[in-house]
Amino acid sequence: MFDLTLTPEQLEMRDTLRDFAQREMKAAAIHPDRLQPFEKPVMTDLLAKAAQLGIRTLALSEDAGGAGADNLTTCIVLEELATGEVDIATILGTTAALGRTLFDTLMSAEQKARYVKAFVDDDNYHLAFAGTTAEAGSGWTYHRDAYDDGVVVPTAAKQGSDWVINGRVEAVSNAPLAKLFAVQVRTGAGSKGMKGLSTFLIPRDTAGLKVLDTIKAFGGPDNSLTRWHHGTAAAIELKDCKVPAANLLGKEGACPFADGKLLARNSVAMAAVSLGVGRASYEAAVDYAQMRRQGGRNIMEHQAIGTKIADCTIKLELSRNMVWKAAWALDHPEAVADRSLSELPLHVIARVASAEAVHEVTLLAAECFGAMGVMRDMPLQKYVNDGFIFAHAEDSDGAAKLAIAESVAGFQRKAA
């Protein structure tokens, strides 16, 4: 029965996080001293505080020691957190989503027994997935079979009961903080594309695993590249990294992440994070428009500003509906079976639609601020930048739309 009522627990979590974001995070996050420099190190004290509120283990099952929150609740929480600070929301969202996937879905009982207690107990314990999926950039192979040359991952060779891994993975989200990595490697010698991939659990302190420098504001030759992600990320390097066969996640040569479905949870979480940024910029604009006087009235009372505010309102409302729907759908596959929901890839639609909407909202919000919208001591320019990053990610841009079109056409790609 269709019902948009939130549970008292959901409302309470929303209140708690909204309060935390407004009171504790925001002042630090948008302090001019933090806004002006290019580098914005993760505010680790706030990250730990947020972890103490249970966000890190939010989605982990209650049995395993988490809060067992469903995807919708997770989205509600992450949106609030992101109104306070986007990197913290991204880091926690990544760990929370991976926590559920790794511990509750993929690990064997034995593996879980080895790692879950430390994960639950340690507020600074984060998770990272280092790998690629068939979904990543699939739009570029629109209506063609998968193109396999792009899939380069570390290789693993069997050595007794161990595997020895060599290779490098660029730009692994959460890597600078993660204590446990799920690393995709090629075990099948001579295999290509997404076939012959396996995933290993590798604790950070494993010999041969090196987390490289955190990605900085500028990089590349002559600083020709600019940091372009939320959260925190670094490359990892594996040099003769020996991992016991017991750390293999699932079956050899059948990487559970390969088809990308397990990461739908993460797409939706990131969509919720984007909503938080959009809302932060929108709320700033509404407040300012009701205070700033020009033309003999508060600027809110001018039709031109009113139109911008209304456009923001509409875009955020529509995006949130879509994100929540996609989140709920992930937990309720039966709703597709009974035809309450369509078979469209709702998580992709949510990610694309919210990214575009939030991008536009941050720009409209900045316009309300005039020159102050580009000053580095003001938060608007950062919200705008955050919005650009959401909108120009591989999984939220034109190629992602093509994945939607393929689904409409019922196209099935032969895996490479």
Partner: protein, 395 residues
């Protein structure tokens, strides 16, 4: 009808292109990546460009300047902006004030200010209008509120005038040798009747620079607060008459739009768009997705098509408007093309970023810079107040 450039115009185009390629572009991203508000600035670049005539380009020949026409000015701005938009603006920002001096100032004032401007490669100028509580109200004073608009107070004291108050977001604020400052000689009537325009040289007692703003885009270009605390000026520093309002004092509007200011931003945007188109074409011809260069993907073809199309439309409009200025033809096009350039520069630089896409967790720094530079247009050249104001110029 004839769109071809004359010899002088071609001369300025090739000079500017050379300077942009050899000096501005190589320094562009590097200076953008320097922390701080003032720090990205570089006097050597200004001096080098000044020696080629770019600082003084608009000064009439009879006063010893190059006296380039508007078409040449538009071309130079675009060429320099293709190297670096903020650096281009740092040069052209001077042109409107040198123009103002030559059109609206007395011979005595010209002697005192135009000559040093011509002589000193590091002499740059600015104008102070905006204040913390007076932004769009200066552009379009509300009819029902005579007190709206700038509030810096100018009080007569004997033969002198004394300024008190603060200006913010003033271009060249931290580096200027001379500022045109709009002050309220009569605070009880609207700014068209109670406004007076003063020339305030650097070093005048009671005048100092406040905060230097740290911006997201146009980081090279300077922007600061001007603070007046009993700043005393001789009546000889008044432009035109007392209480004529700043537009009238500046004899500003003879072609239906601002003589120069509006065209300036449009021409600069054109250079940025040219840069973006070139970047996107180059990248799309080498980078691959799914085994094909980007240029073979319709997704990318349509983006680059749009970039090129919009850039050529903007070029056409900029050149036509520049010619209209030179021909003294009445038109509101300067304002419209400025607003138009806001929409185009933003669209084109964003498409360029889309063409480049995120490479893992990194974005091409110059693609990112162009987007940030373009954002400046939002409030300088295309906010809704400006659009409404410019619509009113139509007959």
């Amino acid at each position: 009808m004839d769109f071809s450039l004359n010899e002088e115009q071609r001369h300025w185009q090739s000079e500017a292109r050379k300077f942009a390629t050899e000096v501005l572009r190589p320094a562009s991203v590097a200076r953008d990546q320097i922390e701080g508000g003032f720090e990205p600035w570089n006097w050597d670049i200004i001096e080098a460009g000044s020696k080629l005539g770019f600082r003084t380009l608009a000064v009439p020949k009879e006063w010893g300047g190059p006296g380039a026409d508007f078409v040449s000015q538009a071309i130079v701005m675009a060429e320099l902006a293709k190297g670096d938009s903020a650096m281009s603006k740092a040069f052209s920002q001077n042109w409107k004030w040198s123009h103002l001096i030559s059109v609206a100032c007395s011979n005595d004032q010209k002697e005192r200010f135009l000559k040093p401007f011509l002589a000193d490669h590091r002499y740059v100028m600015g104008r102070g209008i905006t204040e913390p509580n007076a932004g769009s109200d200066n552009r379009m004073p509300p009819e029902d509120d005579p007190k709206a608009g700038y509030r810096v107070r100018a009080t007569q004291d004997g033969k002198d005038w004394v300024l008190n108050g603060e200006k913010c977001f003033i271009a060249n604020g931290s580096v200027g040798s001379l500022f045109f400052v709009d002050a309220r000689s009569n605070p009880d009537v609207n700014i068209k009747l109670g406004g007076t325009l003063f020339m305030v040289p650097k070093g005048t007692p009671g005048f100092r620079i406040g905060k230097v703003f740290n911006k997201r885009g146009w980081r090279f270009y300077q922007n600061a607060e001007l603070i007046f605390e009993n700043c005393r000026l001789p009546a000889a520093n008044i432009v035109g008459e007392v209480g004529t309002g700043s537009v009238k004092a500046g004899k500003g509007d003879t072609t239906g739009g601002d003589i120069f200011g509006d065209l300036e931003l449009a021409a600069n945007a054109l250079g940025v768009c040219d840069d973006a188109v070139e970047m996107a074409m180059t990248y799309a011809r080498t980078a691959k997705r799914a085994g094909k260069v980007l240029m073979e993907h319709q997704l990318v073809q349509l983006r680059i098509h749009e970039m090129h199309m919009l850039t050529e439309a903007l070029r056409s409009y900029v050149l036509r408007t520049a010619w209209q200025h030179d021909a003294g033809e009445h038109s509101a096009n300067a304002g419209f093309v400025m607003n138009y350039s806001t929409d185009i520069i933003q669209r084109v630089t964003r498409l360029n970023m889309q063409v480049h896409g995120a490479e893992g967790c990194l974005m091409n720094s110059r693609a990112d810079k162009l987007v940030r530079d373009a954002m400046v247009w939002t409030h300088l050249a295309g906010d809704t107040v400006q659009r409404v104001k410019i619509l009113k110029r139509l007959k």
